[in-house]
Subunit: 823 residues, 2 copies
């Protein structure tokens, strides 16, 4: 294009700024388009990959006399975008390159600092850049996402604040334009006029600043400014028609929102004076928004890894944990530490030679001791007032918050979970503490049904001793959830964590002890599942078994627990969350961009080792080819690596046994009926150091083949083609499981059908099917996926208590007190 | 006493009325004191027994020149008391006896009719009687009891209405005193003065009416009236000191209540004018009370058998059912009637030669068919809107109300339940229909947890096919409860009733079909439990088993159901309500009158054949002797008889097998450790016609002897003596069960301890431990008494549904709709 553009006749008004001729060709880039793995958590990796593609672009720009402009996208990407921009342009090769620029978004509360940062950097670099000052294109998005994540909203909440900031930064730019060449990108006549007036005041020559507008937004005004002698640049998409049109439509939607200048300028009811008012004059009528404190349960926000100090904290935690590997962890029974002869060695799945710790392995006798200790502790614990138990839960949550990065680091190293998932695991554990504490408080209020002469109270009492058998894949969250549910309702617990995550479990035990929970209320009993599991689940003194894990073990526990032995006090209650063979349906009406992102996250997050993971994607044939192509491309770009590397998207699986079983299964897939492999990524040399297996995608999978029926805990995805939505739903429902399921579709008719007909405990429409949050997405399934209720939901604690009704006759010889409760 | 009294000197003012000399000795009787089985439902029996004791009293009164007065007690007894009074005094021997009287209570809304009835009767008899006009002594009691039972309140609700009625009836009495001699019993000067003034006006001689007052209430006023020449009679208890004092204390309490004249006359703030106002002048300020319509669930009221038309309806129903005995009842599978070769003969336990009906006995194949039918019907039924299912439940309840006495009659004849318990069974079945319908409506409202960009709904879906296995002892109620719970939440049902109550079950099936519930939604599958039970509970297509019955079978079902078979869709869920070994503690602070009544009802109601029945009474040694004595006396007076006889307190047990097992057990009781029999009532000739066994009481029962540990479904009570309350609680908690338990004590400290420490799902303080009502006393226990939740309570339906969470991402390309639901 540059050749063509450079052939245009010269026009000094357009072609020159105050420093001389400018490039005519001015291209804007979004850096995220240069890297499919663009992610702030992986700042180094993103920099490396983007820079590699950016340098040739800059070279070509220099060569062809073109200007390269860096757009700013959502706030998540801001610091990463800026860092890449600054690091590349500081490299010797590009240090003197001036035909480049970056956006500053005035709607951000950080905008003043952002501009200050660029100014200092530009001075330091010694070469000017252009700054395109805008308000910002993602206002709705930033609000929605911040509210959802529980993060502070990064943008201003009042339009006048954005306008005011825009004008404030206009002044900074104009005053510092030898380093930061001003481009004011706006369709707001007041904003632009302010800039021009200020420029006049500061005696800035007309070419000293540039006005930028979007194509088609306000061509008349563009001409107007042009006529007054200013340089106006129109920004337009270039390339394929459909994405380009989509781009313009989105800009149109945004620029005609209720609060936008363009729209308001077309409305008779807003006066010209009002439109042209100084922004801060609106302040009295519209004071800055202050959110009221939130009542009720609030999810613990995830960590913001786009911030360097947060990444640094995680790195420090990993280093600290590394220094503390290899310790021995005893049993904890009745508050006392017990060493054992046998130990379980826990290894780092990313690097199996690295020992995380040595955990005691309980014997049958010790199992019996632990149960006896829990039984003894039950009586007194059941009499502790609910307010105190709630307080203990709060103390546990508080210590988890304090040790957040350390706990995440243990999870990363012991179970191979990547950074963000490990962080989410700790956040979920905290959520279980606070949510179940509230629920226990709620359940502690007796229900009354009173009449004159009779008072009836319906109350809940704890069941007794609870065996908690937890899995390695949410090594802190699920163990915490089941344990807290039990103790906060007055039960006592024996924790039997998965062997592969027993060190993380030991950390929870540590926290429980630190918080002063009485001896025997929580006992720590790591050991070999096949060995002590049956002892625990068949013991007459165990009243409740809370289990999350495989279907085979869950059903076995359910069956064994239902056998009532001599001397047993209670019929044993079982809560079992088992597996899934979860499917996402891709409808012909799906937004394929979102669908691909969602399927990749759901199928390959934590290498597919979540019970909620997507292992089948069921695609309507009309979108099959494009979807499969984009899916495969996206998966290919996933980085396989050790979990502690922030750039890793595909970490190891939990251990060599798991990897070997998966490879064996893959080997046996029958291409004729079972599916054909279209992608099988090789972990390469990583395979020698850890339990790695790369993502696999199979197509032409028969819905009843083992690949489409059997739960596989790994990064293996079966793609099933169907003709109609009917078929899709039938196939989706056609396994023994019903845990999670999803659909991508923009058709309201499809969404309505799916809501009613798709069989899953957790149904997701147009979003990933993993990442359930406490309270918002109470988690649990039915059929072979589950027996009990939903964790993190309003019915969960009912399984841990016994309802009791107390009826008192208050009549004495014909007389009874009357209270206000009476019906 | 009469001799002494008659020796007093003559005093015409006191000794004469207008007709001549009156008896000096005037005794008042409460008829209920003459018969320990005094019960309006058994009008004939009560009459017979009371009359037998009354006639000698009347003869002696005549002989000794004494006056016998019949008090009126609670409204329940009113019609029975009057009937006995009128029938005895109409007998030739007593027809001319005038020295007798009866009370009319002016606080009753029926008072005008009551007096009219007595007037007509007295004219017809041809001999005058005295009528003591009072307001009434049970005002609080009548209000409490009516509100509790859901019956209309029989008394006036405004004090002035009672006063007004008193004055109105004073006029009637004075105008008709040749038949009804007036005695005005009141301490209210206005009420009395009105009577005296009216008497003057009607020219009634001073001795023409009598004033009566209670001893110690207002002696000065009594003297005042005496001085003015009127006959004043003071009413005082005679006999043992303590009961007499208790009587006076109660009268004192009642007569000094806030609204009483006596109390108000002592208060300065009420003016004399107000006190002496014509009662109806209060009407404007205090209009008659109108109860607002009741919102929310209301229990179906029990039938009022004190009313002759109600008793007649029951007799007619029994006669009608008798005319319809012996029919054959087919299976109902998928809406079609299926006869079978094998049938179960159902016999009347009161008269085992009488066949109630022949019920089909399902085979294994038919069991499979029924399950298949329920499976097919599930899909469409689960899509029926909840409002329609709620409507069906309403239709079932409506038909049960219409056929109430008929259904009760079937229960009486097929399962040997006495009248009132059979009536309560039908009422409870109606309650389950209406209560669960409301609950299903409530659960059908999705719980929302919305955020901008994401909408989350937590909803409940039905589980699938439910096998309902019901017991004979609440043959309609429990079957209805479990079936309605299942279908109203969208499940389908196979009903397998107990063999001994399959005809009653067939009646429920009839009602279900009459109400138009689609074929296959409820299937009727009577048969031999040991035979088809396991087929039902182990079938892979059965998702839920709801069972009420014995512990042995319940545990077996729980164990079998927990085995997950190949091809099974869901892990089978079991709800099991099993038995109890329920105890009542008699504290040293107990009101022994109430305790004896409560223990007798709880232990021997329906011959002890309720899971809630009291089978152990644990007595503190300080009250042991008096309690045991009174208990034994009370039990001895229980009438054993066929269930259809309204006077029967002890009917048969369910069948000969049951009786034989009980007798065998009794035979084996070891007097050294197991207990000594102090009462063993013999049913006599009844034993030849039905499955009768009389009440048995054992004392010195060792708390761990089989008699105190093993559930026995029969009229057998173990009395255990303990030294302290600690021991009592330990013994009460010392069985494998925890279903119901109770305590009689007036000590707040004891009550508080028991609330916290007694282990039972349904705890009762100072009342019988049977007779749980839907919603007020959600019913169910733990330990070996139960697995699931509490029937008739707010958590019950949760067992019949699966919770599902649906999460929709409503964001499209950065924009999302905002609704008012959003957090
Ligand atoms: C050439 C060009 C390039 C651009 N490049 C980028 C880019 O790389 N990145 C980017 O983010 N934007 C970019 N924009 C800006 C964006 O696309 C919109 O055009 C711009 O925000 C609209 O502002 P305005 O001054 O024209 O209109 P106005 O109507 O004056 O302002 C509308 C803007 O105000 C802000 N706003 C609206 N409501 C509120 C509120 N309640 N509280 C606070 N603020 C509010 C929003 O930012 C909204 O866009 C660019 C714009 C142009 C013209
Ligand atoms: C000798 C004698 C024998 C008696 N025998 C019997 C008997 O057999 N059976 C029996 O039931 N009573 C009997 N009574 C009556 C009873 O014991 C009380 O003494 C009597 O009701 C009190 O009424 P009073 O006129 O003295 O007082 P008042 O103060 O004028 O009236 C009090 C009475 O008003 C009625 N009352 C109170 N509040 C309300 C209200 N909110 N709405 C409507 N009514 C209200 C109650 O009946 C209450 O007792 C007898 C009384 C006497 C004196």
């Amino acid at each position: 294009m540059s050749a063509e553009v450079n052939a245009w006749p010269d026009d000094p008004q357009l072609d020159c700024d105050e420093h001389g001729h400018m490039p005519r060709l001015n291209v804007s880039l979004k850096l995220s388009a240069l890297d499919s793995q663009f992610a702030p958590v992986d700042t180094e990796g993103s920099f490396r990959r983007v820079a590699a593609r950016l340098r040739p672009i800059l070279r070509m720009a220099r060569e062809r006399h073109a200007f390269v402009h860096f757009d700013m996208e959502q706030n998540d990407y801001r610091l990463l975008t800026r860092e890449i921009f600054q690091r590349v342009l500081m490299e010797p090769e590009f240090r003197d390159f001036a035909d480049c620029g970056i956006v500053v978004q005035a709607y951000l509360q950080s905008a003043d600092d952002d501009l200050r940062n660029l100014l200092d950097w530009a001075r330091n670099r010694g070469t000017p850049i252009t700054v395109r000052l805008v308000k910002g294109a993602y206002w709705d998005f930033e609000n929605i996402v911040a509210r959802y994540r529980g993060w502070p909203v990064p943008v201003y909440r009042r339009k006048w604040q954005s306008d005011d900031c825009f004008e404030r930064l206009t002044a900074v730019l104009l005053q510092n334009r030898q380093w930061l060449r001003p481009a004011l990108a706006s369709h707001n006549l007041r904003s632009l006029a302010h800039g021009l007036a200020l420029a006049e005041q500061l005696q800035v020559p007309p070419q000293g600043l540039e006005i930028q507008m979007l194509y088609g937004m306000c061509d008349q005004q563009a001409q107007l400014f042009r006529k007054r002698g200013h340089r106006v640049r129109i920004y337009t998409p270039f390339g394929e028609l459909i994405p380009g049109m989509a781009y313009l439509v989105r800009r149109l939607l945004e620029n005609t929102s209720n609060e936008s200048f363009l729209r308001q300028s077309f409305t008779d009811s807003i006066s010209v004076e009002s439109l042209l008012m100084k922004p801060s004059s609106h302040a009295a009528a519209e004071p800055p928004v202050v959110d009221p404190p939130q009542a009720g349960f609030v999810n613990e926000p995830l960590s913001d890894f786009s911030r360097p100090e947060v990444r640094a904290a995680m790195q420090e935690a990993l280093a600290w944990v590394r220094d503390h590997l290899g310790a021995t962890y005893p049993l904890v029974i009745d508050g006392k530490l017990c060493d054992t002869r046998a130990t379980l060695i826990s290894r780092n799945p990313s690097k199996t030679s690295e020992i995380i710790g040595k955990v005691s392995s309980a014997s049958h006798d010790q199992t019996a001791d632990a149960i006896a200790a829990a039984r003894r502790a039950f009586e007194p614990w059941s009499r502790v007032p609910v307010e105190s138990r709630v307080e203990y839960a709060g103390l546990i949550a508080a210590e988890m918050r304090e040790r957040r990065f350390e706990l995440a680091a243990w999870i990363i190293l012991e179970t191979g979970k990547p950074w963000q998932e490990a962080d989410a695991d700790v956040a979920e554990a905290i959520d279980f503490c606070t949510y179940y504490a509230r629920e226990a408080q709620r359940l502690s209020e007796p229900r009354r049904c009173d009449f004159p002469g009779e008072e009836n109270s319906y109350v809940y009492r704890p069941r007794g001793v609870c065996a908690v058998i937890s899995p390695w894949n949410f090594p802190l969250a699920i163990l915490t959830g089941m344990t807290l549910a039990a103790i906060v309702t007055g039960n006592t617990v024996i924790m039997k964590p998965a062997e592969q995550s027993s060190v993380v479990a030991a950390k929870l035990m540590e926290i429980v002890r630190n918080c002063g929970i009485p001896a025997g209320v929580v006992n720590f009993l790591p050991g070999i599942g096949e060995d002590i599991g049956p002892v625990l689940t068949r013991h007459p003194d165990v009243d409740l078994v809370a289990f999350t894990g495989s279907q085979a073990v869950g059903l076995e526990i359910n069956h064994a627990a239902a056998e009532t032995l001599a001397g047993q006090r209670n019929v044993r209650r079982v809560i079992a969350e088992m597996g899934g063979k979860n499917a996402i349906i891709i409808d012909e009406d799906a937004d394929l961009d979102e669908a691909v992102v969602g399927v990749v996250r759901s199928a390959f997050g934590y290498s597919g080792q979540k019970c909620s993971a997507c292992s089948r994607v069921i695609v309507l044939e009309s979108v099959y080819e494009p979807f499969l192509q984009r899916l495969t491309d996206a998966v290919k770009s996933l980085q396989i690596g050790p979990a502690e590397d922030p750039g890793t998207r595909i970490g190891p699986v939990i251990d060599n046994d798991s990897r070997d079983r998966l490879l064996e299964f893959i080997r046996k897939v029958d291409p004729e009926h079972g599916g054909q492999v279209v992608l099988a990524m090789d972990p390469g040399p990583l395979s020698r150091q850890g339990s790695f297996i790369g993502p696999h995608i199979f197509t032409n999978v028969d819905p009843v083949a083992p690949l489409a029926q059997q739960e596989l805990f790994g990064p293996i995805l079966a793609v099933i083609r169907v003709r109609t939505l009917d078929d899709a739903i039938t196939v989706a429902n056609g396994t023994r499981y019903a845990l999670t399921a999803g659909v991508y579709s923009r058709s309201p008719v499809t969404l309505k059908r799916v809501r009613a007909e798709l069989q899953a405990g957790n149904l997701y429409l147009n979003r990933e099917i993993t990442g359930a949050l406490v309270q918002r997405h109470p988690f649990g399934g039915y059929r072979m996926s589950g027996i009990g209720s939903k964790a993190g939901g309003p019915d969960y604690l009912l399984q841990f208590v016994i309802p009791v009704n107390i009826s008192e006759n208050t009549m004495r010889r014909g007389f009874a007190p009357v209270t206000e409760n009476h019906s």
